[in-house]
């Protein structure tokens, strides 16, 4: 590759990270946003966004296989209410409540996985429906009221204070990120997940167990979301039934925007985390500068659209750069699987690739 190509690649990889630093420096130096670089503000950003970061990582795992999980945020909302409720109403000890939250999260993932991998319901539909089911369960269990008393102080304590100068919750996100990165990038499982996302049929034909892997990606996402629910209690100090759905769009926006950074063209852990913090600090800085609170919703929506748009644009550029070979390479047909360049929308027939009826002629 020539120097120009390398420079372009470097820029593509680190543009978002550079932007993250640039925006940070800007708001730190800006006299109108003097609170931006106060330690209280930075701690607040790191704490709050760590929750979102883990949920975004949970979103990335099904996305890698070409599926989308819209129920990750509500799942965390449910388990936070449940975990708080079990301690408060039923008097469960913390470890049991934590375990219950993770199990319930995983069960939601199992149901999603069965619907998508077993019954071949498009993931966007299955998990959208799940979102509403979860909302109903949350209302039924909590009666719409926050659970503020009887929560283990150990858990509350986790939400405040630092370890080695960084908020405690931040370490959970870094831990989740490292584990997810290890599995996605350094194990055969991760390679199979990416292969499946690239072409379900080709994956099936090289011997990858497509339905099982699809199922697992949802279970992992569900369990991770369930665990995050516990951290939500730590972060806000209560089990709040309104909270869960608010995480859905930001998490998905970060995952899509993250696919344009660090490893451009594919959903990846570090790109996603970069995107989470880029969005958060931009909104935070602008709010301190006097912008209205609705700005964050505007930002998340724009980030989602721009993330997907950039992915498609970068994909086109890369393909064009591929030059002559592309000219007579295969034509992608309508059955091509969702990738970072073409996100899953209507009905990616991933699970359809298993046993039964393969493509007939």
């Amino acid at each position: 590759m020539n120097a120009g190509g390398r420079l372009t690649e470097f820029f593509e990889r680190y543009a978002l990270l550079g932007l993250l630093l640039l925006v940070g420096v800007f708001f730190s130096l800006n006299p109108s946003t003097s609170e931006f670089d106060s330690s209280a503000n930075i701690t607040a950003i790191l704490s709050n966004q760590s929750i979102l970061g883990i949920l975004a990582i949970a979103t990335v795992i099904p996305l890698v296989t070409g599926q989308i999980d819209l129920s990750v945020g509500p799942n965390a909302g449910l388990t936070s209410v449940l975990c708080a409720g079990l301690m408060s109403k039923s008097g469960w000890p913390l470890p049991a409540a934590v375990l219950a939250a993770i199990v319930v999260g995983a069960v939601i993932g199992i149901v999603n996985g069965i619907l998508v991998a077993g019954f071949r319901i498009p993931s966007i539909i299955a998990t959208l429906g799940m979102t509403s089911v979860i909302a109903a369960i949350v209302q039924a269990y909590s009666g719409g009221l926050s659970i503020t008393t009887g929560i283990s102080p150990v858990l509350i304590n986790l939400g405040s204070g630092n370890w080695l100068g960084l908020p405690k919750l931040f370490y959970f996100m870094v831990g989740a990120g490292l584990v997810a990165w290890y599995f996605l990038e350094k194990t055969p499982l991760g390679k199979s997940l990416y292969a499946l996302g690239s072409s379900p049929r080709a994956a099936l034909l090289v011997g990858i167990r497509v339905p099982r892997l699809t199922f697992r990606s949802f279970v992992i996402a569900g369990a991770l979301a369930g665990g995050t629910g516990i951290l939500v209690i730590a972060n806000v100090g209560s089990g709040n039934p309104e909270l869960g759905p608010n995480y859905t769009l930001p998490a998905i926006a970060a995952a899509f925007l993250g696919a344009t950074a660090i490893q451009p063209g594919r959903y990846n852990v570090w790109g996603t985390i970069t995107a989470v913090f880029f969005l958060a600090e931009s909104v935070n800085g602008l709010t301190l500068w006097g912008a209205s609170p609705w700005l964050s919703e505007l930002f998340d929506g724009a980030a989602l659209i721009i993330g997907v748009g950039l992915g498609i644009y970068a994909g086109t550029v890369r393909r064009r750069a591929a030059g002559r070979g592309q000219e007579e390479a295969h034509r992608p047909d309508s059955g091509s699987p969702p990738t970072a360049d073409s996100p899953p929308t209507a009905a990616p027939d991933v699970a359809a690739a298993d046993g039964g009826e393969a493509k007939s002629r």
Partner: protein, 514 residues
């Protein structure tokens, strides 16, 4: 064959000095093309020779760097050519994927070419549209109900519909220049011949037909003249009367083709590695045969005979209804692709684009997909070792790629297929299932792939190969099974000529129809 118009025919259009570069690659370099009315002109060349680029430029979907298109009336600048100008110059195109929409009616498929009959409010007038469609289609010997969904059409009928759509606005007295990109790629021999007859009729009625094709036998049969491109330059235009397949292959490759692959001579072991006993499922009915170590067995049959389904059944991606499947003597009870892959069975599917390659990934990833377990040690994927071995295997399988990290899409179709085949060959499979392994690739890459198959067989793999190129089966196979309507109806020993195979296939088709 058509010697009477060997005299310089009346020129329809001429392309002069077409030049196009992509980055550092010269895709077209001063290419010229002369087309005459009333002829079938074949455009041939290897993958990446520039045929597709030339077509895209002429269709006005991609600008040339320079060049002109001359018709009798006008001269068009190809660097500013648009689809509208292309249509006004009389050029019509049928692309490789004919873009027939199966969920729309036949009339709607025609109407989408821009020719709906509309009422006053702009609404489509159903009955008039249908009448018009019927009229257009009758001109192409396609007597079908225009209200029917296009999904009901057979592959050759769809091809005719696409041609009808391209030519529907050409009046009785007008003449068009019709470009067809690999129109027969998806058709079996007999139906391809029907389509070629239709093209001949079009040429006889005065149109000019340009046929882009990889099938050399078909070019030789159908074309009046042949223009060959090689590496973006003209390699020559010759009369069909001077044409032999060897000459044509030489023109395309720029050197003599060594047809050295011949495995039939190698010895077959008596060790059975795959056995089917009364296997049924999908369209397959009670198929029984055995495959031995070091043996190549061909499967010949027309489209719809169940070739692909048989392969899929063995590989476990199609449900086995009854019968027994034995791999190396052991019965497989619930075949699945993962179990089969583990048992040393390899499958190269017919649909390279959707089932063979992993798009948006590197060549190295494509070469090692599904094999990363082999590189997982000490809890860590050994990426450097993987990259090194992948790079080494590129030369082993004669893959032309800039590097192992290049995108799979930057490779030509033939090289992509070498990667897909190589992916399995590096696992030294006991059984190699190949469905149309040379479909849509140029003669050079084809020879390489046949050589690789022969080498694998010599190394002990048992090969089952389905192909509509009977000449390949005749050259490679120790035996060829004739498949018709899901049953094996005949077996030909080694040495059966491609002609015998074709006769046998057609005879059985006719017998079945009765």
């Amino acid at each position: 064959m058509h010697a009477d118009d060997a005299v310089v025919p009346r020129a329809a259009v001429a392309v002069r000095g077409a030049t196009k570069t992509f980055g550092h690659t010269q895709a077209l370099d001063d290419v010229h093309l002369d087309l005459a009315w009333g002829e079938i002109h074949a455009l041939v060349g290897g993958n990446g020779s520039g045929k597709s680029t030339l077509l895209k430029i002429l269709a006005g979907v991609q600008p040339a760097d320079s060049g002109v298109l001359e018709t009798q009336a006008e001269t068009w600048d190809l660097s500013r050519h648009t689809p509208e100008e292309s249509a006004r110059a009389g050029l019509r195109f049928v692309h490789q994927d004919p873009a027939i929409f199966p969920i729309l009616s036949i009339a709607d498929n025609l109407g989408l070419g821009g020719q709906f009959v509309r009422g006053r409010l702009g609404t489509i007038r159903r009955r008039r549209s249908n009448e018009r469609a019927r009229e257009v289609l009758r001109g192409f010997d396609l007597d079908v109900d225009p209200g029917m969904l296009a999904a009901a059409l057979s592959a050759p009928q769809r091809a005719l519909l696409a041609i009808g759509r391209a030519l529907q606005d050409v009046g009785e007295s007008q003449r068009a220049i019709l470009f067809l990109d690999e129109p027969t790629a998806a058709l079996p021999a007999e139906e391809a011949a029907d389509l070629l007859r239709t093209l001949r009729q079009l040429a006889d009625s005065g149109h000019s037909v340009v046929l882009v094709s990889h099938r050399l036998d078909e070019v030789r049969e159908a074309a009046d003249r042949v223009t060959c491109l090689r590496d973006g330059r003209n390699a020559g235009t010759i009369d069909a009367s001077d044409l032999s397949e060897a000459r044509l292959a030489e023109l395309i490759l720029g050197s003599k083709l060594e047809q050295t692959v011949n495995v039939s001579a190698s010895t077959v072991s008596t060790e059975t590695v795959l056995e089917l006993r009364d296997v049924s499922g999908g369209p397959i009915r009670e198929v029984s045969f055995a495959l031995h170590r070091g043996e190549i067995v061909g499967i010949a049959g027309l489209l719809g005979s169940g070739r692909t389904e048989l392969m899929e059944l063995i590989y476990g991606v199609r449900k086995l209804l009854s019968g027994e499947l034995l791999v190396r003597g052991r019965p497989v009870h619930a075949p699945s692709s993962s179990a089969m892959a583990k048992a040393g069975v390899a499958f190269v599917p017919e649909d390279r684009g959707t089932g063979g390659v992993f798009p948006d990934n590197s060549v190295a990833m494509n070469l090692t997909a599904g094999q990363s377990r082999r590189y997982f040690r000490h809890g860590w994927l050994q990426t450097r070792q993987l990259a090194r071995e992948a790079a080494g295997d590129l030369s082993k399988y004669a893959v032309k790629a800039d590097s192992a990290q290049a995108s799979i899409e930057s490779l030509s179709g033939g090289n992509q297929q070498k990667v897909v085949l190589g992916r399995w060959l590096r696992t030294a499979p006991a059984i190699l299932l190949l469905d149309e392994p040379t479909q849509g690739i140029d003669v050079g890459a084809r020879e390489t792939i046949l050589t690789l198959i022969a080498d694998a067989c010599r190394a002990g793999s048992a090969v089952l190969i389905a192909s509509s190129e009977f000449e390949e089966l005749s050259r490679l196979s120790h035996r060829t099974l004739i498949l018709s309507r899901g049953r094996i109806v005949e077996e030909h020993p080694r040495g059966a000529s491609s002609h015998e195979l074709l006769e046998s296939v057609l005879d059985n088709q006719r017998a079945d129809a009765r």
